[in-house]
């Protein structure tokens, strides 16, 4: 009898294990495999009763997928801020009913989590400069400590800069620069850095390849690419500017999640100390959003909460996300499509400044060089932003007009600088 009881107990136990093992949680993400692999393994170990099923889609594609009926996703976990904002506004998420203690909603002046609590930051990444110390030394160049360092003509040809319309992390990079320096000065810095740079698009080598191999001395990038490469042995370093810009990733549970308890467990795990420490893995190297875990960070690991206490600025995340396409289009007009002219122009201006720093024509040359098709007020116009999101005829017309005017302005700036260079004095 006792043996029978034992057998029944064992069978019930096995049955319950079997039943639990079949419960899954479907998570949509665009994280690279390295991130998925580490979280998948750790979550499975912590919660063997749940099967984690990953669906992978890039941000835009994810939105199309999620707008289909029966998309059957429980959790959205990804670095795609605008998607979270849009989906939240559409009422796609449940209010997160998991323990959020110890998770600040801001880093300095950066809002990283939804103030209404429908989605929260899971990690963040900072923008800065990857550099090859040996190559910098060979070229006699200083270690860059701020974006402005890279505007020096000495860096000409030794920088790689990502094109915002082509590389996923680059729109925020450009916009944090525009917000930290201000609209006009920000564009001026961007243009001068880009004039010194090779422009990277989606088909290029990783910036960490070019800088790690010493082919290029400095690369503007998001930190984890470089810091993970450093952790895995690449001979490069990373420098954050004084005012760091961040790109947070988020997690949310869908209102209609079919596997709600498993979804809660996954979200809680990602936000837990254990989950946050996974971000220190050499293949990931993202910045945890739970400040407590920095107490055990690897040597030299950047702590954004500590950094924000030293220098910070208010970044308007909503504005930055809304104008992403317009800023990308402006970058292409001012920089990508006129790159050769931009390089010639800034080289001439810098030479002219060296030759005759007091020449009154320099002010005019710089005015033409810094000409912008849109003001900071215009770029925040919602109708214009929608037009560029759809990339409709209005956007195409605007781009054509910008191109014509920019070409003229660059010619005028270059001519003025050359006049100074050719003048006797």
């Amino acid at each position: 009898m006792t043996q029978l009881k034992l057998l029944v107990t064992v069978c019930l136990f096995l049955l319950s294990q079997f039943a639990c093992a079949t419960e899954k949680v479907v998570v949509l993400t665009s994280y690279p495999q390295e991130v998925v692999t580490q979280f998948e393994a750790a979550f499975e170990q912590a919660y063997p009763q749940y099967q984690l099923e990953i669906l992978w889609r890039q941000s835009r594609d994810a939105m199309s997928y999620l707008h289909q009926p029966h998309s059957a996703v429980d959790v959205y976990w990804t670095p795609a801020q605008r998607n979270f904002a849009v989906l939240s506004k559409e009422g796609a998420f449940r209010k997160l009913d998991v323990d959020l203690k110890g998770l600040p909603k801001v880093i300095g002046g950066f809002q990283i989590s939804d103030p209404d609590g429908f989605y929260v930051a899971t990690e963040t990444a900072g923008y800065g400069m990857a550099y090859n110390p040996e190559e910098l030394h060979r070229l006699g160049l200083p270690v860059p400590t701020d974006w402005k360092t890279l505007t020096s003509p000495a860096f000409n040809g030794h920088i790689v800069f990502p094109i915002p319309s082509k590389i996923g992390y680059a729109p925020m990079l450009a916009d944090t620069l525009l917000q930290s320096y201000g609209w006009e000065q920000g564009w001026s810095v961007l243009e001068q850095v880009a004039a010194n740079a090779h422009l990277a698009d989606a088909g290029s080598a990783f910036i960490s390849d070019d800088v790690g191999s010493g082919r290029i001395a400095v690369g503007a990038t998001i930190d984890f690419f470089a810091i993970s490469a450093i952790a895995n042995g690449k001979p490069l370093r990373f420098s954050y500017p004084e005012k760091v810009g961040y790109s947070p990733a988020h997690v949310a549970i869908f209102r209609d999640a079919a596997h709600l308890e498993a979804a809660r467990k996954f979200v809680s795990f990602v936000l837990s100390e254990q989950g946050q420490k996974i971000l220190f893995h050499p293949d990931i190297r993202k910045l945890p959003v739970r400040p407590a875990v920095y107490a055990n960070k690897p040597d030299g690991y950047f702590d954004p909460f500590a950094s924000a206490q030293l220098a910070s600025y208010n970044y308007d995340m909503a504005a930055g996300l809304a104008r992403q396409e317009v800023v990308g289009a402006l970058f292409d007009a001012l920089i990508t499509r006129h790159h050769a002219a931009l390089k010639t122009m800034w080289a001439a201006i810098h030479q002219a400044e060296q030759k005759s720093p007091d020449d009154p024509r320099l002010k005019s040359a710089r005015m033409h060089a810094n000409w912008l098709p849109l003001t900071t007020v215009q770029v925040n116009d919602a109708l214009l932003q929608q037009s560029f999101i759809k990339h409709d005829s209005q956007a195409e017309n605007a781009e054509r007009q910008w191109d014509e005017e920019i070409a003229k302005q660059y010619v005028q700036a270059t001519q003025l600088a050359q006049e100074i260079l050719e003048s006797k004095k």
């Binding site: 835009r60 088909g203 080598a205 293949d283």
Partner: protein, 449 residues
């Protein structure tokens, strides 16, 4: 002529120390976790974009159709993992689950029933096909799950040393397309490393045949597998895969795309559904095929151009001593240290190089303990291809849980050696009989590769 050269080469190698000359153009000195991801130094500026494109494809997480990103869509209907590097992390080898509860993160199970297909290869199960795909796209049930459990036992070695070995066994759960038949043949396989494969393809077929025919120490045979080449539509020498059941890299890559991820290509244009998998057959494809020829070219080129790690510390006394022991124990009879590539039009930079892969690319009977009892072309259920040893010392640096042998049962190199049986029984016994210090030097040598 070719036979004579290979004979001399093989004989020389079994009688003398391995030659550890550095070939800077096809090896990398990098020893970091990215050691398996380096291009050969001969990679030209013109070839860099293709290399990086291929790398992006290997790193790409694939998308279930329909998708706006047509070029990366095609995952499923049935699949094991969503990217190549999910199994080949850092381009390295995979590992076996430690417990039945753990999923097969970088491992799969081949399936077949007795008999052969029309080309002499394994006969796929009519309901499940040639491998168990754990996942299905929405609306398509995954095929089921394989769970691994182990029986541990101790092996006593000279010098009062004892090593625990674990013998795996498989259980299948959640089978969605009916029970398995009693005579089902199964073979669990961890993902092998993917660097240096271009160099192995650049070894001439005739040289592999010559190795088969070369004189070897008593008890050691070595056999060429002959397998179906889809592109050429004929039987050729097999050289890739745990049983040398793949003729070339292109077929290996296209086979993995369709088998592991359900992504079709010109070489394998049909989705991986069997006749009874109705929902699978009705599922959307992302294109015909899903992987373009250009993508397959780039992926193949990336694999061609991946360098093999150079040996570290060859002058270290323990490593040198270990190398001597490696030869004395006749390990080098199968793990042939030196091969020579031939003229290789696929990527001329790999032509005419002396390489140090520590393989003969031949099948050897490894005895009952390692048998999967699942024939694969000419490979019997006890035969396995000699796996290359180059770079093996970095395996657990690249992937800390990397396992050894076809099913990852060996957690250390010494465990892997102790599993050797069949043609390698004498070698394994010699290692068991060595002093503990000699065994450490032998492993030290392997770690240097």
């Amino acid at each position: 002529m070719m036979i004579g050269r290979a004979c001399c080469l093989s004989l020389a190698l079994t009688l003398s120390l391995p030659v550890i000359a550095v070939e800077p153009s096809v090896t990398t000195d990098l020893t970091s976790r990215e050691a398996y991801e380096q291009p050969v130094s001969a990679l030209s500026e013109a070839d860099r974009p293709k290399f990086f494109k291929g790398r992006n494809l290997v790193r790409q997480s694939w998308v279930i159709p329909p998708s706006e990103n047509r070029e990366i869509a095609g995952l499923g209907p049935l699949y094991n993992r969503i990217s190549c590097i999910a199994c080949h992390a850092g381009n390295g080898r995979g590992f076996a689950p430690a417990t039945p509860q753990e999923s097969m993160h970088s491992m799969l199970v081949r399936l077949s029933i007795p008999g052969t297909d029309q080309h002499g290869g394994p006969n796929p199960h009519p309901g499940y096909g040639g491998q168990l795909n754990e996942f299905g796209v929405p609306g398509v049930p995954g095929e089921g799950k394989a769970e691994v459990s182990y029986t541990e036992f101790a092996i006593k070695l000279n010098g009062d040393e004892q090593v625990m070995l674990r013998k795996p066994s498989l259980t299948f759960v959640d089978l969605a397309y009916g029970d398995f038949p009693a005579d089902l043949l199964t073979s669990p396989r961890i993902a092998p490393p993917i660097f240096g494969l271009g160099l192995l393809q650049a070894v001439a077929e005739a040289d592999i045949v010559a190795l088969e025919n070369a004189a070897k120490p008593k008890g050691i045979q070595g056999k060429v597998n002959r397998v179906w080449d889809e592109a050429q539509q004929k039987t050729v020498v097999g050289r890739f895969g745990w049983k040398a059941n793949m003729p070339n890299l292109r077929q290996q890559i296209a086979g993995a795309f369709v088998g592991d991820m359900g992504i079709t290509s010109a070489l394998f244009p049909l989705e991986n559904c069997t006749s009874v998998q109705t929902a699978c057959k009705l599922s959307l494809s992302a294109g015909t095929p899903e992987l373009s020829n250009e993508q397959l070219d780039a992926s193949e080129f990336y694999h061609f151009a991946l360098a093999a790690p150079a040996q570290r510390n060859p002058e270290n006394a323990e490593v040198k001593h270990g190398a001597q022991l490696f030869t004395q124990a006749q390990c080098a009879a199968c793990h042939v240290p030196d091969l020579r590539t031939s003229v290789f039009p696929g990527y001329p930079a790999l032509s005419n190089k002396t390489i140090h892969p520590y393989t003969d690319l031949l099948l050897h009977d490894m005895g009952k303990p390692l048998a999967d009892n699942r024939p694969d072309y000419l490979a019997t259920g006890q035969e396995w291809r000699t796996p290359p040893l180059w770079g093996i010392g970095l395996a657990q640096k690249v992937e800390p849980r990397a396992g050894f042998l076809h099913d990852g049962r060996a957690r250390t190199l010494l465990e892997a050696i102790l599993w050797h049986d069949g043609e390698a029984k004498n070698s394994a016994q010699l290692v068991k009989d060595m002093s503990a210090m000699d065994r450490r030097d032998l492993v030290e040598f392997l770690e240097s590769l």
